[in-house]
Amino acid sequence: MKLLKLLFRNSFRHPLRTVLTILGLAIAIMSFSVIRTAINAWYVGAEASSPNRLVTRNAVSLIFDMPLAYKERIANADGVTGISLAQWFGGIYVEPSNFFAQFAVEHDSYFDLYPEFLVPEDQMAAFMAERNAVLVGQKLADRFGWSVGDNVRLTGTIYPGDWDFVIRGIYTGKFETTDENTWFSRWDYLDERMRVETPGRAGRVGTYIIQIDDPSRAAEISQAVDAMFENSIAETLTETEEAFNLSFVAMGSQIVLGLQIVSAMVIGVVLLVLGNTMAMTARERVSEYAVMKSLGFQSYHLVGLIAGESMLIAIMGGALGLLISVPINGVLGVALSMMFPVVKMDALTFIMSAVISGGVGLIAAIFPTLKAVRTPIVEGLRIVD
């Protein structure tokens, strides 16, 4: 207890310097937490995926689609308990910068496969009843101020022309990681119009979502599905929903890598700020340490004093940093909602921040401690600042 008091008194002998150091550390740890959260945003899609779902797409790439006829064949495959389909719509709402994910889905099956999208019963009934009905996520509705009953017009980038929709429901997510930034329209609305305007593009499906009841058979079922369409004009690639979502992360892997490197640099910044303060402190107290040594205090006492002070400052800085990063990450989430549906802080970020603070506190103390321990008493006493 006495030691703690001494550490605290020592730390605040130069209150301004210590406050500044804590502030510097807090800012660095906050940056770390923000960058980590930005990295995690890439992986949330994969985390939120269910082991009971497989995704089938055209093997060449996502820009190619598959015929509707595949649906029956996949549904009859062994181990498949449910199937639905989706097509990326890619419309523009007023201007291209208002980007958000839009899927045209098979209305009567899609939400059975995605129980994590919670839609009030009456709104779901309205979605079923009308071809141009749309379900949107709560966050997306908030972003554009939409409410149930609003008419929304999108301009197609893939499917030409203007498309009029009416919002019939707003869904919420069952879990924290559930995407609430997506727009679901009805596939039959899209298909009907394609049939009239460009019959060659009707009856096409971007992805099939397959439900299986035994996740351990995922690999086997995927292979069986792909084998059915081998050597056809539209060969397929079936993978678990998680692998499908991770393939998007792989596309941005170098950006993620860059962010990871930058987040590691934070450790350098923290070390420099704290190391600087501790170096100054130790320099000023050389004679004091000599006095202590001549009074009979051992080297380990000095080690405890200096390392303890360094850790105390580091931990206060880290705690403050984590505290301010919570609201900042909230702002980040809103800013990135266009690209990433879910942005949130995870427990690992907390743990890593704490470990970094403590570790840096120790490392920053090494150099001053060595100096204090190694300086002979006589020399230490001789120094007059």
Binding site: H14, L16, R17, L20, T21, L23, G24, I27, A28, M30, S31, V34, I35, A38, A59, V60, S61, L62, I63, F64, G90, I92, P96, F99, T155, G156, T157, I158, P160, N231, S232, I233, E235, L237, A243, L246, S247, A250, M251, G252, S253, Q254, I255, G258, L259, V262, M265, V266, G268, V269, L272, V273, G275, N276, T277, A279, M280, A335, M339, D385
Partner: protein
């Protein structure tokens, strides 16, 4: 004045450890700051270099990118005969029909991890090469007409499995042999596979073009050509200068990189300012008697302020220079990532520009100024008697 400056510089040197820690910290911040700008600059430079000002590109109205665009043969025929299209010495229209699709291909060196990305495959006609004079075949040969042969851009050949010279890549129910590797002065085309447009349309079962590119007969008349073709009710198309079209494709990704990079470096910058403040407060505290002596000798308060500001600015300037110099060497690092505007992989390098260096220096000086101001004010406001009396 020179005396004051040399006094500041000597002080910077006298306190080596603290100074170098502060310089390192600032250098790190400026490095991150410059790296973010260089990355986004590198991407847009690559894309801007892809297009030519004297070429125009046509895609379907509001389709935004070639991949999403569909143009029919009759539309192509109408545009080809427009007087805005340049005609070569042999009487042929300088006009190319192209198709652009994406194929998902594993990246090299990631075997087993399943890391793959989208490679653009461009089906081109003979005139496509004439329209991009910087295209040159550096290895192998051109494809033979009517065969499943393709050529690969340098960066695709290096970055993706099956895309190197002599290797085979499978798509559209056929195996395609890479028979040549081309370069185009580092432009975005080097991230593409090129093949014969008719062969590729056939293989993908897609009897439509993605885009039409032509040379303008009179480049100053672009606005008139644009108005005429976009107003033609038979066409329903968007037309842009090729350079502008590619420049636009860096919008999303550039903004993302710059926004994240600048936000992070501003946060880091705050940290560095605090670091500079600690250093400068310590410098002031350590020299209280000196300051008293200087004041007693007749140096004014503003001289003291000036001395400490110069010291702080010197430290930050050194940090900034260090950061910029180290960042400069990032030019040799190549980055390959998905461009979210086109959903296709593109390879590019960090690119330094004088503008970025200047912004980096200004940024570091700002940190020095802000970090050094309060400590300098404290130094200037010390009372002579108190300062001389301090131990």
């Amino acid at each position: 004045m020179p005396l004051l400056i040399s006094y500041s510089l000597k002080n910077v040197r006298a306190r080596r450890l603290t100074t170098s820690l502060t310089v390192l910290g600032m250098g790190l911040v400026v490095f991150v700051f410059c790296a973010a700008w260089m990355l986004s600059h590198g991407l847009s430079e690559t894309l801007v270099a892809t297009g030519y000002d004297e070429n125009a590109i046509v895609i379907r109205r509001s389709s935004q990118t070639e991949v999403q665009s569909i143009l029919y043969r009759d539309q192509a025929a109408i545009i080809k005969t427009d007087p805005g299209v340049a005609v070569g010495s042999d009487g042929t229209a300088q006009f190319a029909n192209e198709i652009l699709v994406l194929i998902t291909q594993p990246k090299r060196g990631t075997t087993g991890t399943g890391a793959s990305s989208n490679v653009p495959v461009r089906g081109v006609s003979e005139l496509s090469f004439g329209l991009r004079p910087n295209m040159k075949l550096v290895e192998g040969r051109m494809w033979r007409p009517g065969t499943s042969e393709i050529i690969a851009g340098r960066k695709v050949a290096n970055g993706f499995e099956g895309c190197g010279l002599g290797e085979q890549v499978r798509f559209g129910t056929r195996d395609w042999t890479v028979v040549g590797v081309f370069e185009s002065d580092g432009s975005g085309f080097e991230s593409e596979l090129w093949g014969d447009v008719e062969q590729l349309m056939d293989a993908f079962g897609r009897p439509v073009y993605s885009s039409l590119t032509f040379k303008l007969a009179d480049t100053s008349q672009f606005a008139a050509v644009k108005a005429r073709l976009e107003d033609d009710p038979r066409l329903e198309i968007d037309i842009d200068r090729e350079k502008q079209y590619y420049a636009n494709q860096s919008r999303f990704t550039s903004i993302y990189i710059t926004a994240v990079g600048v936000t992070v470096s501003l946060l880091f910058g705050l940290g560095a300012i605090v670091g500079a403040m600690i250093t400068m407060y310590a410098a002031v505290a350590g020299r209280t008697r000196e300051i008293g002596t200087m004041r007693a000798l007749g140096f004014s308060r503003s001289s003291i302020l000036f001395v400490f500001l110069v010291e702080s600015l010197t430290i930050s300037m050194m940090g900034g220079a260090l950061g910029i110099v180290v960042a400069y060497f990032l030019r040799f690092v190549e980055v390959s990532t998905t461009n979210w505007d086109t959903f296709a992989e593109i390879a590019f390098s960090f690119e330094m520009s004088p503008m970025i260096a200047v912004i980096g220096i200004i940024f570091s000086l700002m940190m020095g100024l802000v970090g050094g101001f309060l400590p300098s004010v404290r130094a200037a406001r010390l009372k002579i008697i108190d300062a001389l009396r301090s131990r």
